[in-house]
Symmetry: C2
Subunit: 436 residues, 2 copies
Amino acid sequence: MKKINLGLIGFGAVGNNVLKLFERNRDSIEQKIGSSIEFSYVCDKNSARLREIKKKVKKVTTDWHRVVKSQSVDIVIELIGGENPARDIIISALKNNKNIVTANKLVLAKNWEEIFSLARKKQKLVYFEAAVGAGIPVVQALNEGLAANRINRIIGILNGTTNYILTKMTREDIDFETALKHAQKQGFAELNPKLDIMGFDTAHKLSILTSIGWSTWLKLENIYVEGIEKIAVEDVKFAYNEFGYVIKLLGIARQIDNKLEIAVRPCLIPKTHPFASVDNEYNAVLLDGDACGEIIFYGKGAGGFPAASAVVSDIMFLARQISAGTAGKIPYVSYEPAKKLSFLSVEQTEGCYYLRFNMADRPGVLSKISGILGKCKVSIASVYQKEPLFKYRRGVPVLMLTHSTNESALKEAIDEIDKLKITKSRTVFFRIEELK
Amino acid sequence: MKKINLGLIGFGAVGNNVLKLFERNRDSIEQKIGSSIEFSYVCDKNSARLREIKKKVKKVTTDWHRVVKSQSVDIVIELIGGENPARDIIISALKNNKNIVTANKLVLAKNWEEIFSLARKKQKLVYFEAAVGAGIPVVQALNEGLAANRINRIIGILNGTTNYILTKMTREDIDFETALKHAQKQGFAELNPKLDIMGFDTAHKLSILTSIGWSTWLKLENIYVEGIEKIAVEDVKFAYNEFGYVIKLLGIARQIDNKLEIAVRPCLIPKTHPFASVDNEYNAVLLDGDACGEIIFYGKGAGGFPAASAVVSDIMFLARQISAGTAGKIPYVSYEPAKKLSFLSVEQTEGCYYLRFNMADRPGVLSKISGILGKCKVSIASVYQKEPLFKYRRGVPVLMLTHSTNESALKEAIDEIDKLKITKSRTVFFRIEELK
């Protein structure tokens, strides 16, 4: 039996569970791949972490250069996260003719072209199933199982932290700050949660999925990104109780004629849609192809073991190809550098919207608002106004849903309304995604 | 650019859409695989079908032997369905060193060992994504994306015909016969719908999924199979209105200690579970692995285009490997012939149940029933009895849900109750699957 040697860099929660999963399922794993697996190196900058596992692996080190340069390592597993030195590790490992497994969405989203061109040139593979949706095998599905399709839409709940916070706000009627503290206490949010709550982590994952779906690098700068940090609990409640919607942070890519709409933003989705019951750290991805129609994947999008499931499955698939001498002969990711995509700016996109105006409590308010909306060609689908459910220092809430309208027209109307003297605070608006 | 030659056998709805999908997406397909695709042969026993496409393909024939023996064919695509000659086609094609794509669940479930041993021996690949869940890439997920996991459970809504019928019965309050006629009119049921409604088609698909999940051939004879043909619309209504459950035909495989429970049967599932909103021709599969946790896949499980999505994606993946000279070096399906599984008979399994007793309308009935249930150690969770909603010639319905109980104890109790003079017709019972 051939032996495959692993060099694991980054021994945090995921790395730990990768080792545990190998210990637990070693028999069936080696049976399936037809070779044995050895951890030649485990590397972490924190030497205390390494002390505990010294006996379980061949060598430990705090210097990643030794791992990527080691003659004996077949696969480098990069699990440190962040951009640097993760990028340097991946690039050096490829240059040293290693195959790669990574769980790092940020480094892929920011260095897609460099990494996959080099992989192609060196005939090496870079697998990254854990980078999106942890254990949900959506990357492979898009790369291979659905390869025949022209992709029309990819819509996902892709970030566990924000989804946990929004679930708390919806189910427990608490505000953003309190929900964030809960999430931090439960280990579902980092102490510095900016990347998550401001939507960037979702954008990294959306960049990866769309880069596969459209066979070209969808750069972060092309994605409109909005986070959840400004969502008020009253809007969560109004949306749910008055209109039957749940607020979720969605990553959305949609082909409209020859252009791509691509955005990360909190949206209202119908509470009867399967996405509405995707709670806490769960993720879901909807892929819509011209032949397969709508396919939904659902599962745990965070956590050491779900991510380890993807990392180890990637290692297994790589190990089989290395044993057979076939690894890297076929690139994993289809990439057409010449392909040029055009984008719709967020103002050019269309949809229905939820609006909350915050008005002085006096006659004529509704006629004023609806007059401006009408002038801007924003058509009202429903209106809701009653005594405020919440104590309002900022005026009386007037809620509206619109028919489909252009976002720039909507913003124009809102700008004008926000300048009125009877408007007490800035108008709040959210896109409605029917997910149909 | 290398050319890959296809020999397609069986030009029905799926075959037709395979050709259409190639016509529509040829550019992106060939770009992704780095080679060009040609239909060297299209074969169908019905020569009228071939006349229309003569100009689009190189050769047409009514004799499949010519296709599998042709020197020029790289991939044989078997889309005729049924056991024979499909088995002969696949075996001869492998013997003639062809790689295979098939959508045929029956032939795989019945000939797993023969087909995959021969494929391994000949170093050829047999891909079959379309055999389960049409366009949903669940076969690949189980084979590769989740390979690191020990699988604990596979539960699926795997048959479009029965799911269409049950959806009609639930939503439109019509009986089985009427719903079946609807399904036939809509093209969702064959004129001879036996394989579907008696649960055998679900069993074929369950056999395939479990054979992958447990790395050994799960033969049909080990699967307990029950269909939907005896389901009364009143039970659908009672379950929904009185207890909050929906009836679905499920394929269930579950590891319990060292044994496997494996069954196809109509079950009550909670109407709040995502499976409850899997309607009509849609399919869903829940995979539960020790590392990934619960993952759900959802999409169209029937129809020419969804199946073509899987067939063409399989062809693409094969074509890339053929071009690179790597096809067949790694077997697709992991198979441990030496692995022995033990099974739980359906009587040995445990669960909660829905019961409908059909009793004479007289005092003492409830005490009699509950006495016998108690004696057999079947514990009652809730009881429902009121004036019949339906015209009953067969007695007054007494409905019960049980706590978890052994199925043989339950059947013993039912046998005794059914012998009572006050029992007007046979007791109806269904397993409740909480899907947790």
